[in-house]
Amino acid sequence: MVMRKLTLKVNHELFGGLLLIGIGAYAYYHGQQYAFGSLARMGPGFLPQVLSMMLCTMGGILAITSQLKPSSAIDLQLGQVLVVAASMVLFAMLLRPAGLFTAAFVSVVVSSWADRQITWPGRIVLALVVAGLASLIFIVGLGMNMPLWWG
């Protein structure tokens, strides 16, 4: 029992704390290229450097307290999130060259990969409905200056 308590288990609280320390340290390092100034005449580097130090402190507290309580692993569904994130970027990239309808259609089809239960006909219908609704709202409704189709 004693042995087990001594081993450092990497739990997500510890990871979060270390990540905060990392971000804080990097921001501090980066902030050093700006003048710190004095209390009376604060330079642009003052606030970023003070905040980074505070962030490191909070990260340290989190990392230490993480060792005091048991924690459960969190199931991150990163794959699904990346699919949706990628389809959003794809949508934005297609918006100008391909038009709103096309871009919405393609990105909804891509994003539906995150849904394992959807069928191909369902996918196409969903994409058509969303693309149609988006075109109606933005181009017909709000009169946005945006191409609808390719070309």
Partner: protein, 500 residues
């Protein structure tokens, strides 16, 4: 208490701005929609529709967004009553008595009660705002840079500390937000943290970041999730029963008033909003009742307290937003984003210089509440179908809205990329229990706080002892400590118990 001249001006301003009235019904419907679909929240709706206000004037823009706010307040009650699934986090206590009523077959009455409580609650909140805004702003005008700095720190701290997350997580989230706000040109005109990219010269674009933190992060959270909505929810709704419920609520003015005023006061405190108001008012109503046993078994009084409080908290949170320029939660954070988009800085100066606009906002919101009564009844008839609308359809719609909106704001890929980046960051934060709202508020008030910090240190010549000569600062600092201490002690005690 009320500036009569400005009140008159506000009425004529509203009369001469038909656009302000045109945008209210769609806003209410959008709010009802997003509120009533479990999994989507009011802040998602407000964030993704924020870019739609780009071409509106300031007054219609704010009225449109507050209409979403108001509509969403009642929308959340619909699935809470019909399915025992709160549509938003602010209708948790609504389900306690609303669902038992629905199980008795009194769902139409319950919805009628909820609607009247929401409408009157909103009215109470804005009435309080109407009577206090003038005097509060006069008081706030006396605050100098040091006081404003403490107020800003207080606001961020409260939002960071008053939630389920641990205190260190909350504070870290707030600091992260302020740190992000330092990117771009500083007050002194020097570039910071741009990593040589010209796209970051103006800093992180605030509106896309808001959409990312509030909407996209929730979107990522919802992917692959499914809310089970059973078919028995599609029950018949009779108009007569809705009216009966409305009458039932109206016959308990004291209950409405107590819930409403509690909600308004709670709403004015940064960090606690509609969700806390909803639960606290319910608990009070139960405590004060002669028959506390009947609560949770379908007592209309519980429903009245819960729904009037979460609606009136909107008006309360507007006090803090207008007087101090400080958002107390996600909804008002989006409103502050809209202020920034229209080059309006909230705060006492805004109230003094534009009292007509402020009063027009208040009157407009009260009219909105009355309008909700009509639109809400119509919505109740459709609610059975709308609650069943699959998230499968809503997720891609929210996705399209947030990309097109952010693209329209920046005019290039910077907007959508910011949405995706902050969305992933917000999603990770949510999964690991960091309060995203603290980061957003830090990002929004960071620039103001830094300016006040630099100014107060210039005045004092860098001497920290200078605050000893500023009594208001000391009082505010004491208030800050007092408001945070209980939570701090509580978490320390809990930590000790966990280790022993």
């Amino acid at each position: 208490m009320i500036n009569a001249e400005a009140f008159q001006a506000a009425l004529s301003l509203l009369g001469n701005t038909p656009a302000a009235w045109l945008v209210v019904p769609p806003g209410l419907i959008i709010g009802l929609f997003f509120g009533s679909i479990p999994g989507l929240s009011i802040s998602i709706a407000m964030a993704v529709f924020l870019p739609a206000t780009l071409y509106m004037d300031f007054l219609p823009a704010i009225l449109f967004l507050t209409a979403i706010f108001t509509g969403g307040g009642f929308g959340g009650a619909i699935p809470a009553i019909m399915l025992n699934i709160p549509g938003t986090s602010s209708s948790v206590a609504t389900a306690f008595d609303g669902y038992p009523m629905a199980r008795r077959g009194e769902h139409a009455q319950a919805l009628g009660i909820g609607l009247v409580a929401s409408v009157l609650g909103t009215l109470i909140g804005y009435l309080l705002l109407l009577f206090t805004v003038q005097s509060i702003s006069q008081w706030v005008l006396r605050l100098g840079p040091t006081e404003m700095l403490v107020v800003a720190i207080w606001g961020v701290t409260l939002i960071a500390v008053l939630n389920d997350a641990s205190i260190s997580k909350g504070i870290a989230a707030g600091i992260l937000g302020i740190l992000i706000s330092t990117i771009g040109y500083s007050d002194a005109g020097q570039m910071r943290g741009t990593f040589g990219s010209m796209y970051l010269l103006d800093g992180i674009p605030v509106i896309p970041a808001l959409i990312g933190f509030f909407a996209a992060s929730e979107l990522f959270n919802l992917v692959g999730k499914r809310y089970i909505v059973d078919d028995s929810s599609l029950r018949v709704v009779r108009f007569r029963n809705i009216l009966g419920g409305m009458g039932q609520a109206a016959s308990k003015p004291f209950q409405l008033l107590r819930g409403g005023s509690m909600g308004a006061v709670i709403g004015a405190i940064p960090g606690v909003g509609a969700s806390i108001a909803n639960l606290a008012a319910y608990a009070t109503a139960k405590q004060r009742s002669k028959d506390p046993e009947s609560f949770g078994k379908g007592n209309p009084s519980g429903l009245i307290a819960a729904e009037s409080a979460n609606s009136s908290s909107e008006g309360g949170s507007m006090i803090t937003l207008l007087a101090l320029g400080l958002p107390g939660g996600a909804g008002t954070a989006v409103l502050l984003g809209a202020f920034a988009m229209h080059n309006v800085t909230g705060g006492p100066r805004f109230i003094r210089e534009n009292p007509d606009i402020v009063y027009a906002l208040i009157i407009g919101n009260m009219a909105q509440a009355v309008l909700l009564l009509v639109i809400g009844v119509a919505f109740i008839f459709l609610a059975g179908y709308i609650v069943k609308l699959s998230l499968k359809l809503m997720i891609p719609i929210v996705m399209v809205l947030s990309v097109v909106g952010s693209y329209a704001i920046t005019g290039n890929m910077v907007g959508p990329i910011t949405v995706v980046a902050t969305g992933i960051m917000g999603w990770l934060m949510r999964r690991y229990g960091f309060p995203v709202a603290a980061t957003v508020v830090g990002l929004l008030v960071g620039g103001m706080a830094e300016g006040e910090l630099v100014r107060s240190m210039q005045i004092s010549g860098g001497n920290l002892g200078f605050i000893a000569d500023r009594p208001i600062t000391l009082v505010l600092l004491a208030l800050l400590l007092i408001s945070v201490l209980p939570r701090l002690i509580g978490s320390l005690l809990k930590g000790r118990r966990a280790t022993s």
